[in-house]
Amino acid sequence: MLTYVLERIFGLIPVLLGVSVLVFTLTWLAPGDPVVALVGESAQGISREALEDLRRSYGLDRPLPVQYWDYLSGALRGDLGRSVRSGLPVAQEIGMRFPATLRLTLAGMAVAVTLGISLGLLAAVYRRTVIDYVAVVLALIGVSVPVFWSGLILMIIFALELGWLPASGSGSWQHLVMPAFAIGFASSAFIARITRSSMIEILRNDYVRTARAKGVVSWRVNVRHAFRNALLPVVTVVGLQFGSLLGGAVLTETVFAYPGVGRMLVDAIRARDLPLIQGTVLFVSVVFVLINLVVDVSYAALNPKIRYE
């Protein structure tokens, strides 16, 4: 098991190298002068000489391979460089934003898992009844409704009309409620669908019939015998959702003015702040890979038949 975990962690190295090359190339392939993008559209009227001076001072006049090598050797020593726009170390920028993202992700996942698994279970157990249809429709709404709409509706109801929650921002648990529901609802849809189909699959098994034949109470069969075994694919989906929320809750963060990593990354991409883009994408990749590792390892705990050698 330990060997397996270590192997996976070493496997991170080629992944991160690949990611860094990809980000670097993509940023450079984007049309337009990166210095113009960095200075921004408000600096209209800037002279050609001033732009060239800035290019030198940002170090963007060096050949591409040199820039990449400098970046890579810095990163290997743990120095992710400095954001061009703010002048701050990239690690510090990420450090300022990541706690908020982590809180939102955890709260969102709590909502998603509770809602998703409950809906999925109900739908499977009461298959082809009204409960099933209602659960499926709810899940469908969850995937289909964009968060910039549902977020605004939540805000109008709970902040403007009822005044129960702050409309936007961060800082207290109240601030987390609406954004957590907004992303949790969307993610719960995936979890509900997987839970439902996985449960239905398991409930067809012989041992479930045997258990029922032996007279085991119905809820006990559903929860202890079937649900545990149905969890495996659910854990995979939860892990994937968790990973994507960590880097990608951009819309939710934007609507609720929540200061997460996603919004920072979008701002950085708009301004082509290369060190910040690189650092953030690398960081999110590491987290993503680690979460997948945790998911894979938890399989073994959930199903003793799975062993890693």
């Binding site: 049309p31 337009g32 200075v39 408000s42 961060s170 003015a257």
Partner: protein, 528 residues
């Protein structure tokens, strides 16, 4: 102390009564024996007295995290909107666009290339260091040093040296006489910063301005506090919080829920719906902005001035303003709005006239003209581009719109095969030179003169107007050259957008001139 503004006044009244009762109690209890009770009452009173100060807190929103709070290291409006509260420039722009004293109290030109400024006495930075000539010199030199990497250095690049005359007098020397120098010194990049702390100003700004920096929660909010030692006197609003709220709809919900006191830069559609709200005050005013449809006059398709004039005749500016910008703009003639010094006031030489447009095209022998219009991502520009497409189709011109992000757009319109370009622009110095020189001087091709407009007479007049401080001479030169440009038609100026804001009626006395980045709270207060 985080008191929400909407309730803070009521609460203050309550505290006032409680506190005065408490005072009486405390005073009488001083004579009483039994220390414990006494202690309790006194500490209770201290708490209440502290909250008695009616801490007026103003909360506003900007739609993006400012990249930095060092005004010299950015050219970002979100940064400037905050740094304008913390730092100050040598001179300022009054509501009617005149140059007025700020950190400098008076100025003169001993020579055409030398501007001598007298600094205000008794001004200190927020850390207590007095503002002296040396500090101003160091600040300007930091901005001018290419190694600083200041994106806004081009604003002051005319300056060749800064000399200290005495502790409160400096001289700014330019290579050539540069008439708009004072206007450029009023720009936020020319804010005076304490150079000794320049490495940390980005996150811990220190200026001389009315508000001092308290905290910046990245991506969430920047909070400021009234500067108790401000040279300009007491401030009614003691705390200012800039919340970072990207979505306009979220800002509107917050404003209506009382979480914000003022929002600005509101898109026309949203603004119109806010105008109907009884519990809000909305304002719109002419700023320094303008919107243009430019021609690459060097492109063979557009070298014939009749084709460009035909396009000008084909555009119904009134319709664009009324139907697509909800009336929140003024139809334009010259490239600079009337708020800008030396903007010419002339009648529209190309009124909407599709018949005339078709006739001009026929005269030029042009049929089946198909043109590409480059614009950058901007909701107003994208809407206007589609209207232009329909208007030009009416006179037989096919318009192909290409929307790109800004850097890609710049590359496209600076390349030789560019045809039409749409752009918005701000004459941020409120001096005609800033825009007219960039747009029409031969030396600015193709960096800013995207029309490749090269008229020797116009270039000469631009040089002449830039090099004399004589306002009458400048006035004449700019009047002549604006008329000439209209005739040569290198660009159609479509409209001057109005700046907008919406606020709670309790906010009074705020000044917001020319642009949302200029919110001035020195005379503002929150009243019940």
């Amino acid at each position: 102390m985080n008191v929400v503004t909407a309730v803070s006044d009521k609460r203050a009244v309550m505290y006032e009564t409680e506190a005065s009762e408490c005072m009486t109690l405390a005073c009488s209890s001083i004579t009483l024996p039994g220390g414990a009770m006494h202690k309790l009452v006194v500490s209770l009173c201290t708490v209440l007295l502290l909250s008695l100060g009616t801490a007026q807190q103003l909360t506003t929103a900007i739609s993006s995290n400012p990249p930095t709070l060092d005004p010299q290291l950015t050219f970002n409006g979100f940064s400037f909107s905050v740094t304008n509260q913390i730092y100050e420039t040598l001179v300022d722009m009054s509501a009617d666009g005149e140059i007025v004293p700020r950190l400098a109290t008076s100025w003169s030109y001993p020579e055409p290339t030398t501007l001598r400024l007298t600094l205000r006495e008794g001004v200190t930075f927020h850390d207590g260091t007095p503002l002296e000539a040396e500090a101003v010199k160091a600040s300007l030199e930091r901005l001018l040093d290419p190694d600083t990497g200041a994106p806004g250095r081009f604003v002051v690049s005319a300056i060749s040296e800064v000399n200290v005359i005495d502790s409160l007098t400096i001289e700014i020397v330019t290579e050539e006489p540069f008439a708009p120098l004072l206007a450029h010194l009023a720009h936020p990049v020319a804010s005076v910063v304490p150079v000794g702390q320049s490495d940390s100003l980005g996150r811990n700004p220190v200026g001389t301005g009315p508000y001092t920096f308290v905290d910046w929660i990245d991506g969430s909010e920047v909070s400021l506090q009234a500067n108790a030692d401000y040279w300009g006197g007491d401030l009614a609003i003691e705390e200012v919080v800039y919340r970072i709220i990207p979505e306009v709809s979220t800002q509107i919900v917050e404003l209506r829920a009382g979480g914000l006191d003022i929002i600005y830069n509101i898109p026309p559609d949203n603004f119109v719906s806010l105008q109907d709200a009884d519990d809000l005050v909305t304002e719109s005013f002419l700023g320094w902005g303008s919107a243009h449809l430019g021609f690459n006059t060097a492109n063979p398709k557009l070298t014939d001035v009749r084709v460009r004039q035909a396009i000008a005749h084909a555009i119904d500016k009134d319709l664009i303003v009324e139907a697509f910008l909800q009336g929140l703009a003024e139809p334009a003639v010259v490239p600079i709005p009337p708020t800008v010094r030396f903007a010419a006031d002339v009648a529209e030489p190309y009124p909407y006239n599709p018949e005339g447009a078709r006739a001009l095209l026929a005269e030029a022998g042009v049929t089946d003209l198909s043109l590409r219009l480059d614009i950058f991502q901007n909701p107003d520009l994208e809407a206007v581009a589609q209207v232009l497409q329909a208007m030009l189709a009416d006179v037989g011109i096919t318009l192909d719109i290409r929307v790109q992000e800004y850097a890609a757009y710049v590359e496209a319109v600076q390349s030789d095969d560019a045809e039409l370009y749409g752009t918005t622009w701000g004459t941020v110095t409120l001096d005609a030179d800033y825009t007219l020189y960039a747009f029409f001087h031969g030396s600015e091709i193709p960096q800013n003169n995207l029309s490749r407009y090269d008229n020797a007479m116009v270039s000469d007049l631009l040089d002449q107007a830039r090099s004399t401080p004589d306002a009458a001479v400048r006035q004449d030169a700019y009047a002549t050259l604006q008329a000439q440009v209209l005739e040569d038609m290198p660009m159609v100026t479509l409209y001057y957008p109005l700046s907008t804001y919406a606020k709670s009626p309790s906010l009074q006395g705020e000044m917001l001139n020319f642009s949302w980045i200029n919110l001035d709270l020195r005379e503002a207060e929150l009243v019940e």
